[in-house]
Each structure stands twice: as C-alpha cells, then as structure tokens.
C-alpha cells in the first residue's frame, strides 16, 4: 500500500477550486436537485467498499456507491423487507451438496469506471476481504466484513458469469450474510496503482450514486449515476451531500438553522421545535432493541426466572417512550410483534408493579429486603438512545419492587469489549447485566447469536451464557432449513421460548428517527438500518 500525500500546492489549488465551486454551487443549486444530509458520524464511513461504523453507515457509503450480490427490499415501509436479487440475478443451493451456493451474475452491469462486472471481479472482491495473502487484501475492509461472512469456506468461478461459494457447514441463512458484502471495481484499483487509500478518494462501484468530492471528517458528495443498472433505483436527486455532524445538538441546530435538509437521530426534546417549523419526524419499526442481558452464570440472581419476569414487569415502557419524545416503541420481546419471528409468547411484557412485587416477594425480596446487584451500562453512544436517563428511570422503577441496581456507567467502547468477553470475564466487574443495544436485522443477528449455546462468549455474543437444549436444536434446524416459511416458524418458536423464559429485560425498540425539512420529499423509511437514499427528492 502506498502513501497518499497531498502536497501543499495541491491543497491550496484544491481549496481555491472548492471555494469557487462553492459560489458556483449556489447558482447550480437553483437548477439542480441537491440535498444535504446530516449524519451522526465523526467521519465519512469507509468509501472503498465495506463501510465501517456499523449497520447505520451502510445506507451512506454502502448501498449508494456499491451493490451486494444479494440485496434487501428497502423501498417498502409497511412491512419488513426481504432478500432480493442484487448483482446476482439469481442464486440456488446445490441439491447434491447443500454447502454449495451457485450465484448467477446479472449481465451488463458496469462499474462507475466503465469496466464490467464478471465472476472474476466477484472472486477478486472475496479475496480482497477473506484472503490475507492476496496482493490486494485490505485489512480495513476485511475487518468490517470478515465477521459478517463467517460461513464462507471456499469460492470459485464456474464461468464468466457464475460464482460458487461453499460454506463450512450447511447454512440456510447464508444469503443474509451477503447483504453485508459489497463489490468494488478491480479495474479502478489497478488504475490507481493498487492503493486502497487512493481508491477511497476515487471509488468505483456499481451503485446508484458515483462519488464526487470526499473531505475526510467533513463531508462526501454523491452524484447520480444515470447509467445505473436498476432503472427503478436511479436517484431522483442530482447530488446528495452527506455531512458529518456527530454531536446530537449540533445536528439538530444545523437542521433548524437550514444548514442541512435532513438529519438522522434528532434530539427528542427538539421534536416540538421541528413540528412547529413544519418539519417532519419520520421513524419506523427498526430491527433494534434496547435491553439488559442477564447473567445466567452460577451465583447470578437471574438464574431465578421469577426475578427475570419481575424485572420485565417493573419497567414502565410507555413512560420511557415519552422520555424519548415518542422516538421509540415499547418492546414486547426481542422482536417487534409485527415481525414474522415474534410468535405467540405466553408471558406478556407489560407494566404491572403488583405482579412484579408478588414475584419478588415469592423469590424472597421486598423493598425492606431488596435484591442488590450491578448493571454495566453505557454512558451514551450510537444505538444506546438516551442511555443514562433511561437507565436511571428503570433504576427508580426497580427500587419500587425491592430491586436495588447499582449502575456502572462506562463508555460504549468499554461496554462492547465487555459484551464480547461475556458475563464471566473480569471486565464485567461483577455486574449481573449488560446494557448493549444492538441490531436484530436477520435470523442470525436477531436470534441465533444470542441464544445458541455455541455462541456463548467469547465465541459469539451470548453474553448471558444462556443455554437451552430446545433452543439449540431449533437454532441448528434454522440454519439447515431452506424453506423460508419453515425457518420463520422455528424462529418464532425460539422467540416464544426466550420471552416466556424472560431471558432478558426488553425495554424499547429504536424507531431510527429522522427529521426532515419541508424541502425533502419521498423519504421512504424501510424497517431496517439499511435505507435507500435514491428515493429522496
């Protein structure tokens, strides 16, 4: 990898040109359709192919500049999306060996640099992130996606437009993994002298937008790709400018003062101001849950199911939604009831202090003889919503039933480290609960990784060390069943079991709120972290 230095003269020339462009831009803006979108990131997510900064970044530099082999329905807001063909026009599992997946590539797809999508390009991209010995292997991209492709064993080109990927074991959920894998242009990489750093400033994918100017830590300009292969997704905008505004209040003020046209994650207490100015708040059911994972290790109080149920019944979820300015949805389990994987749990999550007190009393605790335990929580951070106010509110709820929790606030990065290491690790500092909120977008991310015994940390993120043979059997069956309806049924059954077992305390789901100025039209918010910015106008 070669260094990419910008000489001072280039910087000066560039800045002069940009300043000139700025003044021209004002004239052009009158004719052009341009929107400015305030992102909650301190830097532009990676533009080389695999965005960093989590699932929420995929809408910005993932699905705009690139395409995956298998993509997601993102233009539907009234139901959860489904997998659909992306750069692979079709895929099937080999009936003779169900570990082999055959992907037929879409003909006639061009990268932004004019080169053609072929099986060689797909193999080159798999090598880019999975083979450290490949000359073009990129650590930064591999770090983002390798863990998203845990099933891949080998891959091979069958012909110019067909690729075979072999999984380590039979895995019916494998196509979901490919949602996270984007395809960059090998030709552009070669043209730029084999430098991913240079590629980041002049990327080439197959996506509906091409990249214009990238200013690290500040903004990136996306320009409509008129020749995009999916005519239904040709952007309505001429240009979309993504601006980094990590601080919540600064982002909110930028929208209120007209510096940007839409923002993600507005501050809840600014909602009345937005609506008073004719702005819209848009949110939707989002695969996310704010929860407490409870330790099931020997010695943990949460081995007693009555306590787990009491902890669920003592949370006033409606009040927390109010605290969030309405930008949240009460949780009735890991999944939202609208999900096909919700099932019919018999334990109904509700706010019922009498029932909670009764369960606590049956377990030998009361306000005069409280259960004392520690919860590891985040001070703040992406996805954690109003972390400390929500935690403190629940702490008050719990005090009323004789459950005294000591909150141990740590930075989100520390909480993540603790999450990966599991309840038994010393980093948990004796805490019996962990408060990481996370994405629940597909069967693995929503269910399997948290409840299967083989996912117990540090192998996976079953932080609690939860183990249930019936759940294990179902998780194995889910990954080996290719009938989607059957898969849904089994996922729903797992969900019923874990809710009835009160494995966690589920509090609220994020609605992934966005605030839009009246100028913004046709924003469709899918029930996912992946969003389609081509509909914006």
């Amino acid at each position: 990898m070669t260094n990419f230095h910008l000489p001072r003269r280039t910087l000066i020339a560039g800045s002069t040109a940009l300043a000139a462009m700025g003044s021209i831009g004002k004239v052009r803006a009158a004719e052009e359709h341009v929107l400015r979108y305030g992102m909650a990131f301190a830097d532009v997510p990676l533009t080389t192919g695999q965005p960093n900064r989590g699932a929420g970044a995929y809408q910005f530099t993932g699905f705009t500049l690139y395409d995956p082999l298998v993509t997601w329905e993102m233009d539907i807001s009234n139901r959860p999306g489904k997998l659909k063909p992306g750069l692979a026009s079709s895929w099937e599992v080999d009936p003779a060996d169900k570990k082999n997946w055959i992907f037929k590539l879409r003909p006639g797809v061009k990268f932004h640099d004019g080169s053609t999508l072929t099986a060689d390009a797909v193999i080159w991209n798999l090598e880019k992130v999975l083979n450290p010995k490949a000359a073009h292997f990129d650590n930064a991209q591999a770090a983002q996606v390798k863990l998203r492709l845990p099933s891949v064993a080998t891959y091979a080109k069958l012909d110019d437009m067909t690729v075979q990927i072999t999984t380590k074991a039979v895995d019916a959920l494998f196509p979901y993994q490919l949602l996270w894998f984007f395809v960059s242009s090998p030709a552009q990489y070669e043209k730029l002298g084999g430098s991913w750093e240079k590629f980041g400033f002049a990327p080439s994918g197959t996506g509906p937008f091409k990249m214009g100017t990238l200013v690290p830590r500040t903004s990136v300009e996306l320009i409509r790709n008129e020749n995009y292969w999916d005519k239904s997704r040709i952007p309505k905008l001429d240009r979309l400018i993504l601006v980094c505004i990590p601080e919540d209040l600064a982002r909110t003020n930028a929208l209120l003062s007209g510096q940007v046209d839409l923002i993600e994650t507005p501050t809840p207490d600014a909602v009345p101001q937005f609506t008073a100015r004719g702005m819209k708040i848009v949110g939707n059911v989002t695969p996310h849950v704010w929860n407490y994972h409870l330790s099931m290790l020997p010695g943990s109080p949460w081995l007693d199911k009555r306590l787990r149920q009491a902890a669920n019944l003592a949370v006033d979820r409606e009040a927390i939604v109010q605290l969030m300015g309405g930008l949240a949805k009460p949780a009735f389990g890991q999944m939202d009831p609208s999900s096909p994987w919700f099932g019919k749990p018999t334990f109904k999550l509700r706010y019922d202090m009498d029932a909670a007190r009764k369960l606590m009393s049956d377990a030998g605790y009361s306000k005069s003889n409280p259960l004392k335990t520690k919860f590891l929580v985040a001070t703040s951070g992406a996805g954690q919503m109003l972390s400390m106010p929500i935690n403190e509110y629940i702490q008050q709820n719990y005090a009323e039933i004789g459950l005294q929790i000591e909150l141990m606030p740590v930075e989100l990065e520390v909480l993540y480290t603790a999450w990966r290491k599991g309840a038994g690790d010393e980093i948990a500092k004796g805490a019996s609960a962990n408060n990481v909120a996370y994405v629940t977008s597909d069967p693995f991310y929503a269910i399997v990784r948290f409840y299967a015994t083989k996912q117990i940390a540090p192998n996976g993120v079953n932080w609690s060390h939860y183990s249930n043979p019936e759940v294990d059997k179902l998780c194995d069956a889910i990954t080996s069943t290719f009938d989607v309806a059957e898969q849904d049924k089994m996922l729903a059954r797992v969900h019923e079991i874990i809710v009835d077992d009160a494995v966690q305390v589920w509090v609220v789901h994020d609605t992934n709120p966005h605030a839009l100025s009246p100028k913004v039209k046709n924003y469709v918010q899918a029930q996912h972290w992946f969003q389609d910015l081509t509909t914006l106008s």
Binding site: H5, G14, A19, G22, G54, L147, P216, T218, C244, R420
Partner: protein
C-alpha cells in the same frame, strides 16, 4: 541567542518523548480496546485475534511503543486504525483549521482582555475596575460549551444570522478569507475567546495596577511626564508578562478547543482528538498529542525569545 534557541530546542526532545509515553500509557490503562476502532462490536474472538495481529496490536506494549517511536523519528506518523488513512493529511488539515480558530479567538480575546485589564488596572477601585473584574470572572467561569450552545440557539436557530456548524459553506473543510467562511468562524471564535479574555483581563489588571504603584512612575509623574509618556512606560514594563500569559493562552486555545469544536462541528484537532479518544484510535491520538505538544513547546520558546527581545534583563 542562537545558542539559547538550540538549547531550548534540545529540551523539547525529552518533553516530546515523555508526553508521547504518558499518552500511550494513559490510553492503554483506560478500559476498552483499540480494536473497537476497527471492528464491529460483535466480532468473534478469532476475528479479533486475526485483526490484532494484522495491526500489530498483539505485540507487547513496549514493542508497540518502540515501533511507533521509530516510525515517528523517520517522519511517519502512521495510519489511523479507524480509517486506514495516513494520519498526516488529516492532522494537517485539522491543525490548519484549529490554528485559524485559535488565531481568531486570540484576535478577539487578547485585545479585549488587554483593554479591559489595562483600564481596570489604571482605575483600581472604581466602577470600571469592578465591571472588569466581573467580566474577567464571568469569562473564566462560564463553561464555553454552554455559551456556544446558547449562542447557536440565538444567532443560528432563532435569528438565522450565522451558521451553527462547520468550517465552510461548501463543506470542503478548507478555510478561506471571505464572508462565507468568516460567518462560520464568528460563533466558535467568540465562544473560544471568552476564557483567554477573562484571564488576560485579570492578569493585565494586576500588572498595570502594580506598575502604576511603583516608585519610578511617581518620579515620572513628579517630573511632569505627560499621560502618553507614562502609558509608554507602563506598556514597556507590562509587555513581557502580558506576552507570557498570551503565549500560554494561545497554546491552550490550540489544545483546549475540544468542546467548542465538538459543539460547532469544527473540523480541527479538538474534533479529531475527541473522535480518536472515543474510538481508541491510538495512532491518531498519539500523533495529534505529539504535534500539539510540540506546538506548545515551540510557542513557549517563541514567547521566551520575544520576552528576551523586549526586556534585556531576561537575556541574562
């Protein structure tokens, strides 16, 4: 003079080394893992181990520090763990932005502080003095992130006079001398100037008051020196100390603008540091702190030299 410069430059080397080592240790003592800058939070243990190896984070800490130091001595500040980019271009543009902001804040805070402090010192005990003291105390006490937020609400959100965030209207992050860019710097510069203004006011009030009470001033007055001549003597005697305070304050402005840059999304070193701290992006953190500390050391040297030029006694 050349020997002084050379000697002081040599002193800065152990300072730089100590600052780097301290910063490196501090980051590693803090809980959390630099791997969080690279990997998504749910990365399994085997992937974490592979990535740690790829980035050299599996090596013992002294080895990691040694490698970093070796590279720095060869002019390579390394690559960001989070972005994979060479650190220098990002740091270079961030430094330029912070320097512009610090200079603007200094241009507001220093003259105002000098004016208020000098007047207060000259009229000790009067209502002017009391007003200047109130101003100085307020300047030092008001949290500047709070002041920044209040100003944004008033001047950006309610009045829509000035932009609330960013360094440039075109989003390029590159600063230029025109109203579009100046309008972006007004609020953060005023916010950042409040503390140095308070400190300079307080310092100048004391210095000027003390000088005016000295015997040579009484003598000069007795000899019938006019006000203009007296002021010239006061300025000459106050300048070295005032310069020292302002030099230190300029250093604080360069290194202490994290909160203001965060509130105004100003793409300077404060925002860079803030992001690096939360992501545990150690190479960025190390490089930024090293460069800022060197800037601080250089600034101190420049102030010392300027003091020596102004006051021959300082050369002894």
């Amino acid at each position: 003079m050349i020997a002084t410069i050379f000697r002081r430059a040599l002193y800065s080397l152990p300072i730089a080394l100590a600052v780097s080592l301290f910063c490196f240790l501090l980051v590693h003592i803090a809980p959390g893992d630099p791997i969080n800058a690279i990997l998504p939070p749910d990365a399994p243990a085997d992937v974490v181990a592979q990535v740690k190896e790829a980035y050299g984070l599996d090596k013992p800490l002294p080895v990691q520090f040694g490698i970093w130091l070796f590279r720095v001595l060869h002019g390579d500040l390394g690559r960001s763990l989070a972005t994979g980019r060479d650190i220098w271009p990002d740091l270079h543009s961030a430094l330029a932005n912070t320097l512009v902001l610090a200079a603007a804040a200094a241009m507001i805070g220093f003259p105002l502080g000098t004016m208020f402090g000098s007047i207060a010192g000259a009229f000790r005990g009067s209502w002017i003095d009391r007003a200047a003291v109130v101003l100085a105390v307020a300047g030092v006490s008001v949290p500047h992130y709070w002041l920044g937020m209040v100003m944004v609400v008033i001047f950006s959100v309610l009045l829509n006079w000035l932009p609330s965030m960013g360094a440039s209207p075109d989003g390029s992050g590159v600063w230029a001398l025109d109203w579009g860019h100046l309008s972006h710097i007004v609020l953060p510069a005023i916010t950042l100037s409040v503390i140095p203004m308070g400190i300079v006011t307080r310092t100048l009030r004391g210095i000027v008051g003390d000088i005016l009470n000295q015997d040579f001033i009484t003598t000069l007055r007795g000899k019938g020196l006019r006000r203009g001549g007296l002021i010239a003597h006061v300025v000459k005697n106050a300048a070295p100390q005032a310069l020292a305070v302002m030099g230190l304050q300029l250093g604080y402005l360069m290194g202490g603008s994290i909160l203001v840059e965060t509130v105004f999304a100003w793409p300077g070193t404060g925002l860079l540091l803030n992001n690096a701290i939360f992501q545990r992006d150690i190479p960025v953190l190390q490089a930024t702190i090293l460069v800022l500390s060197m800037f601080f050391v250089g600034l101190n040297l420049a102030v010392d030299l300027a003091q020596a030029l102004l006051d021959p006694r300082m050369r002894r």
